[in-house]
């Protein structure tokens, strides 16, 4: 049984409400933090080794220490709740069932960073969660954990929820800030980074929901104790939202010590693949990260067991590895068509490109069209090379990482499943009938490195 520190109390009835949360140890971390100096709170987070849970995995304490503190200029903390990466639904789960854990994490982090106005930017479609958060914020205000002179510290803080209106790009922190300023979600050119010039040109920290919630156990147990959970630089616990072809879809909290095989097949987690089907492929960290065939999902190219850690999931780099990303864990069984799945993702990225940079605006559209042709039996062999060429020209050539996010799934699909693309080209009629006959992918295949 893995160690649960974020979802430990998820099954307590009424934990959504302040009184129950409080009775079960809630806001004890806030009480403790307010007896510490703001700098000491930052120090604990640094010691914990906590890494951003939104996708990039950047050390949170370091991000906090970059925050500029010019005299007389307000600083802001913004919570990124724009969860939009396909396969990811963990932040929703946290906010829906444990809203006070987020509010408490936000309060402590606001105190540490000196943010008196803190915003939660939540994706537009999570409309009912806005109500849950508003209620939790009102409760915290009534209990004196938000508002003026919190716990007699002289620190004032208010949290506001801002709901977006449907745009994947607003999960990118500078696009999010643009959106919060009431504009189109076009990412900004960095530098300057938000820590220097963020919301309304003021120093700003943007952190993911799960990252901010993790501040609560870090303060409670101390940064050093937190850093001892997990393996190596993958400290603490991580929420994984598991979906696709598995028996038990849902959100799981793992301490980062288990293998991918255990995660997929054990009854404690995904419970294996329905109907006794074989594993064909896995996208372990949200739709942007490289897809891995079954053999590379379970073992690294070196033949070691692949673990659910930042390092192990990335082992081998893009040729044979993938990424932890946002923890959106997508499993494909032997009946799934990688071309069709890649087409679905390509359509997603074309739809979500903000249109600012030509490689992404044009490239995502071209990739979708070419994939569409291949999937529907109108592709040619040279299209596969063209697809490769286009993705390679998007990657690294855009203002924000959406370009990379659109390129990687296409690159990895061709890298590991090229013969499936070729099969579509060679057997257009069969492809149209959706008669794939590709079950052999479930068996280990030779790894082509490089």
């Amino acid at each position: 049984m893995g160690k649960k520190i974020l979802l430990e109390k998820e099954h307590i009835e009424g934990i959504r409400y302040f009184d129950t949360y409080r009775k079960n140890g809630g806001y004890a971390a806030a009480d403790k933090a307010f007896k510490m100096s703001a700098a000491d709170v930052v120090e604990e987070v640094k010691k914990s080794g906590l890494r951003g849970r939104g996708g990039a995995g950047f050390p949170t304490g370091m991000k906090w220490s970059f925050l500029a503190k010019p005299e007389g200029v307000p600083r802001y903390l913004v919570c990124n709740a724009d969860e939009s990466e396909p396969g990811t639904f963990k932040d929703r789960y946290l906010m829906e069932f444990l809203p006070h854990l987020l509010i408490e994490g936000l309060l402590i982090s606001s105190y540490a960073l000196g943010s008196e106005r803190t915003y939660i930017y939540i994706r537009g479609e999570y409309a009912w969660i806005e109500d849950i958060l508003d209620e939790a914020i009102a409760e915290a205000n009534r209990a004196g954990y938000l508002g003026q002179n919190i716990l007699g510290s002289g620190f004032n803080c208010q949290i506001y929820v801002q709901r977006g209106a449907g745009a994947y790009i607003c999960g990118e922190e500078t696009a999010l800030l643009e959106s919060l300023e009431g504009k189109r979600g076009n990412p900004r050119i960095k530098p300057p980074f938000p820590a220097i010039k963020g919301l309304w040109d003021c120093p700003t920290v943007v952190n993911n929901v799960e990252t901010l919630a993790a501040v609560v156990p870090i303060i409670l147990m101390g940064g050093e104790a937190y850093s001892k959970i997990g393996l190596g630089k993958s400290t603490g616990t991580k929420l994984i939202s598991a979906c696709g072809n598995i028996n038990k879809q849902g959100v799981y909290e793992i301490d980062m010590t288990i293998s991918v095989e255990e995660f997929i097949y054990s009854d404690e987690y995904c419970g294996g693949i329905p109907n006794g089907k074989k594993l064909k492929a896995c996208i372990p960290g949200g739709s942007s990260v490289p897809i891995l065939p079954a053999n590379l999902t379970l073992k690294t190219a070196k033949g070691e067991a692949r673990m659910m850690t930042y390092e192990s999931l990335a082992d081998g780099g893009f040729p044979t590895g993938s990424m932890m990303g946002s923890g959106g864990f997508i499993v494909l069984d032997e009946d799934q068509c990688v071309v069709r799945h890649t087409l679905s993702l390509a359509r997603f990225y074309r739809h979500e490109s903000c249109g600012q940079c030509s490689p992404c605006r044009e490239g995502t559209g071209w990739m979708e069209k070419i994939l569409h042709n291949i999937e529907y039996g109108k592709g040619e062999m040279k299209d596969i090379d063209l697809l490769w060429d286009i993705q390679s020209k998007i990657e690294g050539n855009t203002i924000c990482p959406l370009g990379d996010a659109a390129a990687w799934p296409v690159a990895a699909a061709i890298r590991h499943f090229r013969d499936e693309f070729e099969w579509h080209v060679l057997n257009p009629e069969e492809a149209l009938k959706r008669n794939f006959g590709l079950a052999h992918y479930a068996d280990p295949i030779e790894v082509a490195v490089g």
Binding site: G87, F89, E125, S344
Partner: protein, 165 residues
Amino acid sequence: MKFSEQKIQKVKEIIARFPEGKHKSALIPVLHIAQEENGGWLSVEAMDHVAELLQIKPIEVYEVATFYSMYNLKPVGKFLFEVCQTGPCMLNGSDQIIDHIKQKLGIKAGETTGDGMFTLKTVECLGACGYAPMMQMGKFYKEHLTIDKVDKIIAECRSNAERNN
């Protein structure tokens, strides 16, 4: 379209969340209210009213309204089905759900039934991948969809509409 006194009060509350002079930040939430008040879509008139309320230029409203996918720029039916079609939903059969809705209602994606009752919109990932296939209907999600469940939802919508007439 003009906001009621109660909605204007709500707009003031939203503006108060931001520092002085940063009232443009209220635009996205205020557009949500405008869409609700205007029968589920944003007409030019509705957008102009928002510009006036927030004392910003109409173009600032248009450029935002056209960027975000939740704003409907043409009229929609009484019930809007926004069915997710992205990867994880597709792996769990969203194609069949979308085909069934199209056939049952006799419309394509993006269209509204002749009686103005239903609009079908295909959308990209709504963050419900573990409860796939799914769709959004108004403020809430309908998850773990099956053909039967979709039929029931459609029947419920029809009887609700009749009851309210």
